[in-house]
């Protein structure tokens, strides 16, 4: 253990010698997100949009599934990465109205790694794959949109039609969906 205060006689009075270029350092969240973003390996169905290239902490993800119920649709998610990343997961919202068992009308997404199963070793890439998977395999077991989940389990054909109807723009039951075809 070093003896710390052999240096103790030094006086400290506010304007201690500023060192050249010792500017505000990037936060841990910033360092980590830089790594995550640089190594984003997106499936070909996904693209990202950064409204401000200097702000890596907020961006959008666009998913255009090329198979499954949601083929030909275009779904936008917003990502907000907080200062406590990666201790806490980013906040992800679906900005496109979608008829989906695991996404509600407010854009909340029920994906385990976005909440209870988040671990700091996971990355933005993990979330992208998780979201993409939701479109390929909607999960009726843990629904956010209960009606959609029920239809999916009882009548897949009707579910498929409902998805199509919603993506073309229109009512499914009493809920109106904006058009979101590519």
């Amino acid at each position: 253990m070093i003896k710390l205060f052999s240096l103790k006689q030094q006086k400290k009075d506010g304007e201690a010698s500023p060192r050249p270029g010792n500017q505000k350092k990037a936060s841990a969240a910033q360092l980590r997100i830089t790594k995550d973003i640089n190594e984003l390996n997106l499936p070909k169905t996904c693209t990202t949009e950064f409204p401000d290239p200097d702000d890596l902490l907020s961006f959008k993800l666009v998913i255009c599934p090329d198979e499954g119920f949601y083929k030909t649709g275009r779904f936008v998610f917003s990502f907000k990465v907080g200062p406590n990343y990666p201790h806490e997961p980013p906040k992800v919202k679906c900005e496109t109205q979608v008829y989906h068992p695991n996404i509600d009308q407010q854009g909340n997404v029920c994906l385990n790694i976005l909440r209870e199963d988040w671990k700091p070793v996971l990355t933005i890439n993990s979330i992208v794959y998780g979201l993409q998977y939701l479109f390929l395999e909607p999960n009726p077991e843990d629904p956010l949109n209960k009606e959609a989940a029920e239809v999916l389990t009882t009548n897949r054909r009707l579910f498929e039609q409902n998805v199509q109807k919603a993506m073309r723009g229109g009512y499914v039951g009493s809920t109106y969906f904006d058009r979101c075809l590519k």
Binding site: Q23, N38, N84, N112
Partner: protein, 443 residues
């Protein structure tokens, strides 16, 4: 004899016994001397971060130990619920700054003590402020704030050719409590595990699966969480962000939670529980705060005087049932993003001529780095700036022009740090630019 000295002979008699005599438990390099007490009383400058449960105890402990130059920073104001344990505050102080009231109390009560309050966020000050302290001691309730302070003091370290300049070390003593449990730790930046190294120690926030709270709630907490997460943003009853200190807001959540609980035949939703869930309140226990603050203050004293070896380096305390303590050495993480990095110096022969693309080429071709696709960011004037990231189309398009700009044109200076992420390294690397031409000018 000056008036300050005379009473201090007696006043600090107990401390003098420790500081002016050798002993078997002393730091091996400890040299007893009366000057040490003078250092404490006259020049040792301490920053207390947080003036809440731990902060009040810390201020009292440190001031009674002779420390006079104490600064305290807290952005919070006093709430009725603080008064049972934050003993520097009275009912008349409700609504006022914790830092200011605490400082006034200590200054009034402990002769000669000069506590300087800062009623603001820790992020409002820059490194000039933090560098001016000998020791920083934290009594915080937030992980974000701990990480920020930790990052700040790590960023103050200076390395000369990869060797740490010890005079840039500001030790951090950190205390934390949760109910009957607490911990105290000593962080010697660059030498021992930092907050970021041991981040996994903090339990994740309690979160419930969204589908559970939406469809199959079983606990009163599920109902409250549903109202907070789903109904509030949807109905936005007061056209404002949810404020856990606003009784109207909490009242609304309480009512809606009761309704929802009734729907699912769940009992146990109370106003207090709602408050607890909304504000993430963990019950605070005054005695735990007192113990942990006592340990932290002792560590500050040991570090300031070098009279004893400091805590090495993490102590846990639990008095749920009897009293239990355990001390162990938290280890540094080899790849800690904050403290494992000795910023690597990157020599820039001519910053006015060298373009960003040349820099990237260097990183890719240089034997030591051999990077593949480096993404570069920096901070200019305290703001993050993306220099170039090739892998993201939307960023690449808008940073492409930077490639042909010189480092000077990009706002980089001698000593600027750039962050480089690349698939070849497990984490983002920090490079410190050293302009060779400016050296010549200085000579």
């Amino acid at each position: 004899m000056t008036e300050a000295q005379e009473p201090s002979q007696k006043r600090w008699a107990h401390l003098r016994k420790i500081l002016e005599r050798p002993g078997p438990f002393c730091h091996p390099e400890f040299e007893p001397s009366p000057e040490i007490m003078d250092f404490i009383v006259t020049s040792c400058k301490i920053l207390v971060v947080g003036a809440g449960g731990l902060g009040c105890e810390l201020l009292k402990d440190l001031a009674l130990m002779g420390f006079k130059q104490i600064h305290v920073i807290d952005m919070d104001t006093i709430d009725l619920s603080n008064l049972n344990r934050q003993f520097l505050f009275r009912q008349k102080d409700i609504g006022q700054s914790k830092a200011k009231v605490a400082a006034e109390f200590i200054n009034r009560r402990i002769p000669g003590c000069q506590v300087t309050p800062h009623f603001c966020k820790i992020q409002d000050y820059d490194e000039g402020f933090y560098r001016s302290f000998h020791i920083i001691v934290c009594g915080l309730d937030s992980i974000v704030a701990r990480r920020w302070i930790n990052g700040m003091i790590m960023s103050l370290l200076c390395y000369e050719d990869g060797v740490l300049d010890n005079s840039t070390i500001i030790p951090l003593v950190d205390g934390g409590t949760e109910g009957f449990k607490g911990n105290a730790r000593v962080i010697v930046p660059g030498n021992s595990a930092c907050v970021e190294c041991t981040l996994d120690l903090y339990p994740p926030q309690v979160t419930y699966p969204l589908c559970t709270i939406a469809n199959t709630p079983r606990l009163p907490e599920h109902c409250i969480e549903y109202v907070k997460v789903v109904m509030w943003p949807k109905e936005n009853p007061f056209n404002a962000a949810l404020d856990g200190d606003d009784t109207q807001h909490v009242g609304w959540i309480y009512e809606k939670s009761l309704e929802r609980a009734a729907q699912f035949n769940i009992t146990g939703v109370t106003y207090r529980l709602v408050q607890g869930v909304v504000k993430n309140i963990i019950p605070a226990v005054a005695s735990t705060n007192a113990v942990i603050a006592g340990v932290c203050a002792t560590e500050v004293f040991k570090i300031a005087t070098s009279c004893c070896l400091p805590l090495n380096n993490y102590m846990v305390f639990n008095d749920v049932d009897g009293i239990y303590t355990y001390t162990y050495t938290a280890e540094r993480k080899d790849n800690c993003v904050v403290c494992s990095q000795v910023p690597q110096t990157l020599l820039i022969p001519d910053a006015t001529k060298m373009k960003l693309k040349d820099l990237i080429q260097t990183l890719c071709e240089d034997e030591t780095y051999q990077m593949k696709n480096p993404g570069l960011t920096t901070t200019v004037g305290g703001k993050n700036k993306t220099l170039y990231i090739s892998t993201i189309k939307s960023i690449e398009e808008r940073t492409r022009d930077n490639l042909n700009k010189s480092l000077v044109e990009l706002g980089l200076k001698d000593g600027s740090e750039i962050m480089v992420a690349d698939a070849t390294t497990p984490m983002t690397l920090v490079f410190c630019l050293k302009f060779q031409s400016s050296d010549v000018e200085m000579n």
